[in-house]
């Protein structure tokens, strides 16, 4: 490995996302090249200091100020506010519950009345043959992969179809015995 490749891959080296072989090559180069070793140390030390930077926190009045700003939102500018506020007021819940109860009672009373009902006409049932199972040997995926010269895919697709073929072979053998 040369120094340029080392620098190019150094980001992934820091993130530990290099494949094992490349990672080993990077470590070998670092052990051999003093300049790249110094570069690596410089980067790691800088990031270590950065990672240990204390986190800043919101001031004590943050929530109160946020609350005040949320209260300033007008209903037409705050659809979530309107929708949720409307559905959450106890008065609205009570109204909806009463309305639902009245509707249920009305529907129940209506169903008890003697009503002249028309005979139910069901649509005619049309029988149809079940679709035949596709032949796994001539599936579009296999044909496409054969033309593309990919020898692996047909084998994988055949392996996928294995249970079906075993069943078919069993059926043929039974026919042969007869």
């Amino acid at each position: 490995m040369d120094c340029r490749t080392f620098r190019e891959h150094h980001g992934a080296f820091l993130d530990d996302t290099l494949p094992g072989v490349d990672d080993a090559a990077m470590e070998r180069h670092r052990a051999e090249c003093a300049e790249c070793a110094a570069f690596d140390v410089r980067m790691r030390r800088g990031l270590l200091v950065l990672h240990n930077l204390p986190r800043v926190h919101c001031s004590a009045g943050f929530n109160e100020r946020l609350l005040a700003r949320l209260q300033d939102l007008s209903p037409d500018r705050a659809p979530v506010h309107t929708v949720l506020g409307g559905s959450r007021t106890p008065g609205m819940f009570s109204f909806l519950a009463v309305a639902a109860a009245v509707l249920a009672v009305t529907a129940g009373a209506y169903s008890l009345l003697p009503v002249e009902r028309a005979p139910v006409m069901l649509p005619p049932v049309i029988a149809s043959q079940p679709a035949p199972l596709p032949d796994p040997f001539s599936s579009p995926a296999i044909v496409a992969s054969a033309f593309a010269g990919a020898p692996v895919w047909p084998a994988m697709l055949l392996a996928d179809e294995m249970p079906m073929h075993v069943a078919e072979v069993g059926f043929q053998l039974t026919g042969y015995v007869r």
């Binding site: 150094h10 980001g11 820091l14 410089r42 980067m43 030390r45 800088g46 990031l47 200091v49 950065l50 990672h51 930077l53 204390p54 986190r55 800043v56 926190h57 919101c58 001031s59 943050f62 929530n63 100020r65 946020l66 609350l67 700003r69 949320l70 209260q71 939102l73 500018r77 705050a78 659809p79 979530v80 506010h81 929708v83 949720l84 506020g85 559905s87 959450r88």
Partner: protein, 212 residues
């Protein structure tokens, strides 16, 4: 509703609903809020306020303005949460809002030299503050060194170009994946990687003399 949403936060921390919300992932908390659980919004505020403040503060370099922008993020979340595509990650969405606000702030600042000057003045004033929030058990020279190092790191981050700094902060301080950063910053993965590499190198170059 806003009133309810945050006033409920005054409930004791150990209340069962808050405990249950704390155990949920972001998507479930968002769903709970949209289905009428007001305290879920406070849970989102609790989860994200510090993370967003750190991200915005390190990006724009002004803590007070950073807090204002974090508030603005939550206002926008509150108003538009019903439009959030719940098949996506909530954290990516909220960081995207924060990132856009931070970029706007930087853009406004570059157009308005007075704002930039005021920010610099404010940072000078911050330098004069006594060490009242530091750990009093440490020796004064340790305190000085620690504070000096912190300021050095912050100024080194601030010296990075805007695009590099944003990616650098998201990766190194917020621990976001490359894919998430690409989504938040609306750039492709290759750009994220190249910006991050350059930012890391620049940062290391800037801070190295102080660490040697």
């Amino acid at each position: 509703m806003a009133d309810i949403a945050l006033k409920k936060s005054a409930n004791p921390a150990g209340s069962p609903v808050r405990e249950q919300l704390r155990a949920l992932d972001d998507a479930a908390v968002v769903t709970a809020f949209l289905e009428g659980e007001e305290r879920a919004f406070q849970e989102l505020v609790d989860r994200y306020q510090t993370r967003l403040l750190n991200f915005i503060y390190r990006t724009i370099g002004d803590r007070e303005k950073g807090e204002d922008l974090v508030q603005e993020v939550f206002i926008r979340v509150y108003r538009h949460l019903h439009r959030f595509d719940r098949s996506k990650k909530f954290s990516t969405w909220i960081y995207t809002i924060a990132s856009n606000l931070a970029k706007n702030e930087l853009r406004n600042r570059s157009r308005n030299p007075l704002v930039l000057f005021q920010t610099i003045r404010k940072n000078w004033a911050d330098d004069d503050r006594p060490l009242q929030f530091e750990d009093s058990s440490m020796r004064p020279d340790d305190l000085f060194r620690k504070r000096h190092l912190r300021e050095l790191v912050e100024s080194s981050v601030a010296q990075l170009p805007e695009h590099h700094r944003e990616v650098f902060v998201l990766r190194e301080i917020e621990g976001k994946s490359y894919e998430e950063i690409a989504e938040i910053t609306d750039t492709n993965l290759g750009t994220v990687k190249s910006r991050l590499n350059r930012a890391r190198s620049s940062f290391a170059e800037i801070i190295a003399p102080a660490l040697d």
